[in-house]
């Protein structure tokens, strides 16, 4: 990337570009809905709503599978190739992350790319362990729960609960990062994920 010593040049060094394709934008907001509702329905569960938690899990799982396909055949900014950032790129970006200007990246910034991968991995773990989970209070079991032994089921259920906590942490981090970009770096990433137009370095 170009030299960044001159931060006073301001907006002239940036231009809006269409970065996010419609599919990834719809996908993102569907994922927000399925993850938030699934998480809330799991955390504040009741007998009458537990089936909806399972539906939210199926939806999230389907969305993850679509994202994996999109990671290979989708537009360049959403491909896994674009998410695979090396240590030097990461270190370079982390060093200038606190400059008060947009990242200017035509896609996920390097730190964001790591975050995306982490979220995808955690959500996959969440869905997969959920398939084998048991709930011996409200008696809702994952669809594959009785394909494994009781002790494996108990362990996978424990991981399902543990990774739910990890997902809460990373989602809060994700939202904090968006606020950091909005308030400190003066870049509205929410708007970019709605319209598809992102501020990119010329």
């Amino acid at each position: 990337m170009v030299q960044d010593n001159d931060t006073s040049a301001g907006a002239s060094r940036f231009e809006p570009q269409k970065v996010w394709d419609p599919a990834i934008r719809i996908w993102h907001w569907m994922l927000v809905f399925s993850v938030v509702s699934g998480w809330l329905l799991g955390e504040f569960r009741s007998f009458s709503t537990m089936q909806w938690h399972i539906y939210a899990g199926y939806t999230t799982g389907t969305l993850i599978l679509l994202r994996i396909v999109w990671g290979f055949i989708g537009p360049p900014p959403v491909r896994f190739r674009a998410l695979a950032v090396g240590p030097s790129t990461l270190k370079n970006y982390a060093g200038k992350m606190f400059q008060r200007e947009p990242s200017g990246v035509a896609g996920h910034n390097p730190v964001g790319a790591i975050s995306v991968i982490l979220m995808l991995v955690l959500l996959s773990v969440q869905v997969m362990t959920g398939l084998f989970s048991e709930d011996d209070a409200l008696f809702f079991d994952g669809p594959l729960a009785n394909t494994v032994s009781g002790s494996i089921r108990t362990t996978l259920t424990a991981y399902h609960h543990l990774s739910a906590k990890a997902i809460l942490v990373i989602v809060l981090l994700h939202v904090s990062a968006i606020l950091f970009y909005l308030l400190w770096k003066r870049e509205n990433l929410v708007k970019a994920m709605i319209t598809g137009w992102k501020i990119v370095r010329k």
Partner: protein, 162 residues
């Protein structure tokens, strides 16, 4: 050759000695605490057996049968009303008996509200037993409270895994 023989001899000796030690280790498995743990787990198995079928009926996975539903709910009430305090011995939590129980030490804490939780289950089971034989809708209306009573106690007092 003799060295080798000695080695083999020692190996056999050590093997026998360790085999002999196994019953000694297992002895600790059958003391008063171990028996109390097994007894209370048997109680939870009964809860699960009765309420599991009621949940299966409520979810349409098992055909609703009024007589069976009423009996299951009455049995559940009977089990919840047993005075089983003697099963909750000191040193029978999941740190004292690792791998044997999921009962958290918080159960025995001075500010533990386990008694209230047990009462919630008793009330919910009783409420269910009053209507379980009156049709599927009546069963569905009351069974949630039982499951939520179980859930709230597991959440606070049961470890995630052994």
């Amino acid at each position: 050759m003799t060295m080798r023989f000695k080695t083999i001899f020692m190996a056999i000796l050590i093997s026998c000695a360790s085999l002999g030690a196994i019953p000694m280790v297992q002895a600790a498995d059958d003391d008063a605490v171990a028996q109390a743990i097994k007894a209370r787990q048997a109680g939870f198995r009964l809860y699960s057996f009765y309420v599991g079928q009621l949940f299966a009926m409520a979810k349409g996975e098992q055909e609703y049968n009024a007589d069976l539903a009423a009996t299951l709910a009455n049995n559940l009430v009977a089990v919840t009303e047993l005075s089983n305090g003697m099963m909750w011995l000191p040193e029978s939590d999941n740190t004292a008996r690792q791998g044997k129980t999921r009962a958290l030490p918080e159960i025995w804490a001075a500010d533990s509200n386990i008694g209230d939780k047990a009462q919630t289950l008793k009330d919910a089971a009783l409420g269910l037993s009053l209507v379980a034989g009156d049709g599927l809708d009546a069963l569905r209306g009351e069974i949630g409270a039982v499951g939520e009573a179980c859930d709230s106690c597991h959440e606070d007092f049961r470890a995630e895994d052994f």
